[in-house]
Symmetry: C2
Subunit: 310 residues, 2 copies
């Protein structure tokens, strides 16, 4: 039976100033998705590990299955898949766990089906699966998870996704504290109206961050990593957030904010050494307030999902 095993990257969405429009992919952590092609229509989730029994095996509730089924319907295929999902990243952590599984499954299924679509064309199916996972069809995790690199979602309707370069020495520290934040709740506490003044600040930072990435200006990239719209609300959901952020910046990180809807916190750094130092300092803050945490250090993942076995 034809099979393929895929690495599917975790992702950092929002990236401080870019609420719902920025995201980038990581090399660490990432899920492993194994797919076996079947000659019979239908998806079976045959195994899930690393999820502490949290993920649904029913195909209509599982994001990997939902997205692959949408692909099969679109290309009018009568094939099917048996899928194993090996979670190597925490769930509900703000690291795009559901997006990773969907992106990895789609990427692998498309290959086993003989590449009927370009990778970029798989995106709508992944977005659809986000609707199943968190109620809204956001693209800031699935787009970087599928395409790799740093991604702008310029528009949702029509969908307009642009991948831009990142800096060669950019490292990301991610710390995941063992607290739970529900994505829908994290979205519900946001105000539906914001001040024009704050919007202008955010527009300036978005323009600055994109410019910093294009010009290789680490300093500009760092000072543009400022979020005056979302972070003030979501920070309240993460005990010690501002101390963790301070620890990252004091360690030399370019900038630090909440990854997606949290509780993970990311810091961008201009070297692996600084990223390690920031990770240690951030963890110490959580230790002091008796919150267990896990640190990941990673370069930006530029390629998206990749085949690790076939």
């Amino acid at each position: 039976m034809k099979h393929i095993k895929i690495f599917a990257p975790a992702t950092v969405a929002n990236v401080a100033c870019g609420f719902d429009i920025f995201g980038f992919a990581l090399n660490n952590p990432g899920d492993e998705i194994l797919l076996r092609l079947k000659e019979k229509r239908g998806i079976v989730i045959s195994k899930i590990t690393g999820d502490k029994g949290m993920l649904p095996e029913e195909p209509e509730k599982n994001t990997a299955a939902v997205s692959v089924m949408a692909l099969l319907d679109y290309i009018k295929s009568d094939k099917g898949f048996e899928i194993e999902i090996h979670k190597k990243m925490p769930l509900s952590s703000g690291l795009g766990s559901s997006a990773a599984s969907a992106a990895g499954a789609l990427f692998g299924a498309n290959i086993l089906l003989g590449k009927p679509l370009e990778v970029k064309e798989l995106l709508p199916f992944a977005i659809e699966s986000e609707r199943v996972a968190c109620g809204t069809g956001h693209a800031d995790n699935v787009a970087p998870a599928l395409l790799g690199g740093f991604v702008i979602i310029r528009s949702y309707n029509p969908l307009d996704i642009i991948k831009i370069p990142t800096l060669p020495e950019l490292y990301c520290t991610v710390i995941h504290p063992s607290i739970e934040i529900n994505t829908e709740y994290a979205r519900s506490i946001l105000k539906s109206e914001i001040s024009l003044k704050d919007a202008v600040k955010q527009l300036g930072n978005v323009a600055g961050l994109v410019t910093g990435l294009f010009t290789g200006d680490y300093n500009l990239t760092g000072r543009s990593l400022e979020d005056v719209i979302i972070e003030p609300f979501r920070a309240k959901l993460i005990p010690g957030f501002y101390d963790v952020k301070k620890a990252a910046l004091m360690s030399g990180a370019l900038g630090c904010s909440i990854s997606g809807s949290g509780p993970s916190i990311f810091a961008l750094c201009s070297s692996g050494e600084t990223a390690e130092k920031a990770g240690k300092a951030m963890k110490e803050v959580f230790n002091k307030i008796d919150i267990q945490s896990h640190v990941y250090i990673s370069e930006i993942n530029e390629e998206g999902p990749k085949i690790i076995e076939s």
Copy 2:
């Protein structure tokens, strides 16, 4: 007596999606500022032409004089200037008329004083003069007027201005209809709160526009020239605005919106030919509703003010 004559460019602020953060300079129109160095402290505005008697000659009310006086104070100079201002652009038109005069005067004065400051360092004095001219110290006209090119104001406090590249074939059509809009009024009709949803759209377009300019992608640049926050309000102050915009886009313009707080309307085009065509079509719309208008066609001014006589 040492003298210098400076060309000072008109500017397009906001540039659709970049309210208060984007601006670019034009080669046409532009003011001419003549400065004569005096050994005695103080500024005299000796002549103003082309303003239909509208501009104040009192140094404390005239933006060119205010900005040069601030420069003299800053460098503790006991020199003075006699300044002639020859307006070659309409006042209160949304083309940065006061910013041009201030930028040109500062640029010239700095040269006659032996260049005590870098051009970029003149910016705070120009911003201060904007406070005199329109009540708020905005930089989206003075920054491109002084520095030339396409400019991002990432932050006002601290001031953080970044000049980014533009596209080689970019032309701008500006049409100035003979109607008056007061800048303060145009600002007062804006809502101080906006929806988070609109802010996200605007963030996406700002990221898209910057990316389009860096990557030389005319199509992306064009589709990012969308303003869902400010244009819907200010469009009401310009009769026929949406028809003029439609005429520009139908002529092949990449995008079209209000220049600054209006009433001028700008369209960016990927060739001089298209810019001419758009200008004619836009003017026809105003003709039909009996509004006189003047069209300017220009490349992006990359150098800022320049010496035309010394």
